[in-house]
């Protein structure tokens, strides 16, 4: 059984044209000027994992389109009592959900759910796998700052292995011919990462990653996902932390992005986080129109 039309399970299997369609739609979305495209529809936000940005921006996006939202979190719901993923899905469908936005600690959980439900399922982050709405809002942010993807070079620095943001970004950027450089120590950036999509390469040296780069994406070291892996944080900071001095190696008009949450003093300094090149808060802001577009598409309201 296939996922319902309008589902967004990942970037990997989306075509470039479809991505551009979503981004164009996002440009027409304005959370301050609500459009009741989804009036009376019910969007369930099913969060098995903690989230601030993604959850609030999906909720605001849904409401800006006139939809009702219901938030379900693992604690305080039947999930805590041992209800299975699919049973939770069937229950939400029976209750009248028109779309399910799901965040889950296990890779592939949204796909499993989508295969069994007749409503669109939107992946709001699944384990180490994908975070498609983040990749789309990042693409939206890049296109607001750069004319097009043509000839761009993006470096992603940090914990690639544990990052669904990085995986989705690699797929998306690669589809538009962007050169992607992944940078970090071998434990966090395994060589196998280059196989994820065409045009992706790996380097251990931050200067190598930054030279000629238009977009610097930083990632958090995800302590909660390290699973016994030993990472020497002072060493990491010494080699990879983004500082104003290092940032000078990148193109003059380069921008700095970070999916958040940021840890000041670890993957970046405050000067970089709050500096003129930073687009970290713009990303958060862009999350709302992007997710409005994703939800409108999910429920067949592309126009």
């Amino acid at each position: 059984m296939n996922a319902a039309r309008g589902s967004l399970l990942g970037i990997e299997h989306l075509e470039a044209a479809e991505i551009m369609k979503i981004l164009k739609l996002a440009r027409r979305m304005n959370p301050d000027r609500p459009r009741p495209l989804l009036k009376g529809r019910r969007v369930v936000l099913l969060f098995y994992e903690a989230s601030t940005r993604t959850r609030s921006s999906f909720e605001i996006a849904a409401k800006a389109l006139g939809a009702h939202t219901v938030l379900i979190q693992a604690s305080g719901s039947s999930i805590e009592k041992g209800e299975s993923l699919l049973d939770t899905g069937y229950t939400l469908r029976a209750v009248g959900a028109d779309a399910i936005v799901i965040r889950h600690p296990n890779a592939g959980a949204p796909q499993v759910m989508a295969q069994h439900l007749d409503v669109p399922v939107i992946n709001a982050g699944d384990g180490l796998h994908e975070h498609p709405s983040q990749a789309l809002l990042d693409a939206y942010t890049i296109l607001r700052n750069k004319k097009s993807f043509k000839g761009l070079q993006v470096c992603i620095v940090g914990d690639i292995f544990h990052s669904r943001v990085a995986r989705s970004a690699c797929h998306l950027l690669s589809k538009f011919g962007v050169k992607v450089i992944l940078c970090g120590p071998p434990e966090l950036v395994p060589d196998i990462a280059t196989t994820i999509a065409p045009g992706v390469r790996v380097t251990r040296h931050i200067e190598d990653a930054l030279r000629g780069t238009d977009v610097v994406m930083l990632l958090r070291v995800q302590k909660e996902r390290l699973a016994g892996m030993k990472i020497d944080l002072p060493e990491y900071i010494a080699r990879y932390q983004m500082t104003p001095a290092r940032l000078k190696t990148a193109k003059k008009d380069s921008i700095v992005m970070h999916p958040g949450p940021i840890i000041r003093g670890l993957e970046l300094t405050s000067e970089v986080a709050d500096g003129a090149q930073s687009r970290i808060l713009a990303e958060v802001q862009n999350g709302v129109p992007t997710r409005m577009a994703i939800l409108a598409r999910a429920m067949g309201r592309m126009r």
């Binding site: 993923l85 699919l86 296990n106 890779a107 592939g108 499993v112 196998i192």
Partner: protein, 432 residues
């Protein structure tokens, strides 16, 4: 054990392949009183109570599966001895060796005896493999001698490998003294926490933590090293899946140590690249490996290094599989597709002679565990016979499986080679 059929049965017109007896020719076989009474040239045997027409078919010693999970005691919702052995008969197996990782663990004489009782409703012969350590906790060895006397054919902590060097050494020493094989599920679980598939490009892309080939090979290397040092030690390595582990095993075998090993049909048929995204019917342990590993296994099957094909039949209920991939149970059903996959992949695909394939299901397994009187059709052997059509094409329909569970990646596969009849103790227990 079950009662033997008192009447005689003549299997005539077939082509007998019995690698242990070096027979590969048209022959008739007379089964009588639960034993093979006579093997002779066609039409030489006269007078039998009943006859089986095996024209166009291959007649082989009853197949032996060294590695099945029949889930009793305690996990009857997945499988029972009755349903699992019915599936075994459909797959041409006349003997199956059951793994002890049940609830409770089969670590006592009482449970070994219980497994062998006729009340269990077994359709084919069941040979228990007992736990190597108490409750398979990897610390204190079980009473090997008593378990062996009770009918266990080997010991293992399958699924929970013996990691402690000292315990593994003790197990091999004691097993060596008793001529009792120690079976290892080779996986350094310290390296595989939270892993659900093979570590490679595919696992990276799917965002699933991967088990490295080294996690298997390092344990195999250690065990081979130990086995080479201990006189008479009998090491049997279960479901070998990586090229690196094969290297260590080849070294051990060259050294003339008593080391044997099995491979599974899914590991020689599929690789991690064949997985459908997050489909837990492709989730098992050891996982589907790289295409290079699969090729190495195919080569070892063809060149005689592999001792046996074993299914690692691991049935699970629907609700234990249809869920988040990382949380789904490890294991797939395998009894009903093993021979057809071997013929399709090895014989048709790689031109491995049919005699070698029969060996991998019969005399090979007997080399691993002592199953006296089985694995051959020489006169006096148990009247266990597997009759199959090596050319018959068919489509596997998992929903029609006799196993309680339907967790298989081979549903809907077109296969070549079909079991036409399975005979246990002179009695026909399955016909197609």
């Amino acid at each position: 054990m079950k009662s033997h059929d008192k009447t005689s049965l003549l299997i005539h017109g077939g082509h007998v392949i019995d690698p242990a007896a070096r027979i590969d020719a048209p022959m008739d076989i007379l089964l009588k009183d639960g034993r093979v009474a006579e093997v002779a040239a066609p039409r030489k045997i006269k007078g039998a109570d009943s006859r089986f027409d095996a024209r166009g078919l291959i007649v082989a010693p009853g197949f032996i599966d060294l590695h099945v999970h029949l889930r009793e005691p305690g996990q009857q919702h997945k499988e029972t001895i009755a349903t699992g052995t019915a599936a075994a008969a459909t797959g041409g197996f006349t003997s199956v060796c059951t793994m002890p990782n049940t609830a409770p663990v089969v670590d006592s004489v009482e449970w070994v005896t219980w497994l062998r009782q006729s009340e269990r409703g077994a359709v084919v012969s069941v040979f228990p493999i007992a736990a190597a350590t108490r409750a398979s906790k990897g610390a204190v060895l079980t009473d090997f001698a008593a378990l062996q006397t009770a009918g266990a054919v080997a010991v293992t902590d399958d699924g929970k490998p013996i990691l402690d060097d000292r315990v593994m050494r003790e197990a091999l020493i004691l097993g060596g003294e008793l001529n009792f094989p120690v079976v290892q599920h080779a996986e350094d679980t310290r390296m595989t926490a939270d892993c659900s598939m093979h570590a490679g490009a595919r696992s990276f892309r799917l965002g699933l933590r991967g088990m490295t080939a080294a996690a298997e090979a390092s344990i195999v290397e250690r065990d081979v090293q130990l086995a080479m040092q201990i006189p008479n030690a009998r090491l049997h390595v279960a479901h070998v899946s990586t090229a690196d582990a094969l290297k260590a095993l080849r070294r051990g075998k060259r050294n003339k140590s008593r080391i044997t090993f099995e491979v599974t049909p899914h590991h020689f048929t599929l690789s991690d690249e064949d997985m459908r995204d997050y489909d837990s019917n492709y989730k098992m342990n050891p996982p589907l490996r790289s295409p290079a590993d699969r090729e190495a296994i195919l080569a070892a099957l063809a060149d005689g290094t592999v001792d046996a094909i074993a299914t690692d039949h691991a049935p699970h209920a629907h609700h234990e599989k249809e869920m988040e991939f990382e949380r789904a149970a490890f294991g797939i059903a395998g009894l009903e597709t093993a021979l057809a996959l071997a013929i399709t992949r090895l014989h048709v695909g790689k031109r491995v002679p049919m005699g070698r394939i029969v060996e991998l299901f019969t005399s090979g397994p007997v080399r691993c565990f002592d199953l006296r009187g089985r694995g051959s059709l020489v006169r006096g052997s148990f009247a266990d016979v597997t009759i199959f059509d090596p050319k018959r094409k068919w489509t596997f329909d998992a929903s029609k499986s006799l196993s309680k569970s339907k967790n298989t990646p081979f549903d809907g596969w077109q296969l070549t080679g079909k079991v036409m009849a399975t005979i246990v103790g002179g009695k026909i227990v399955y016909t197609a």
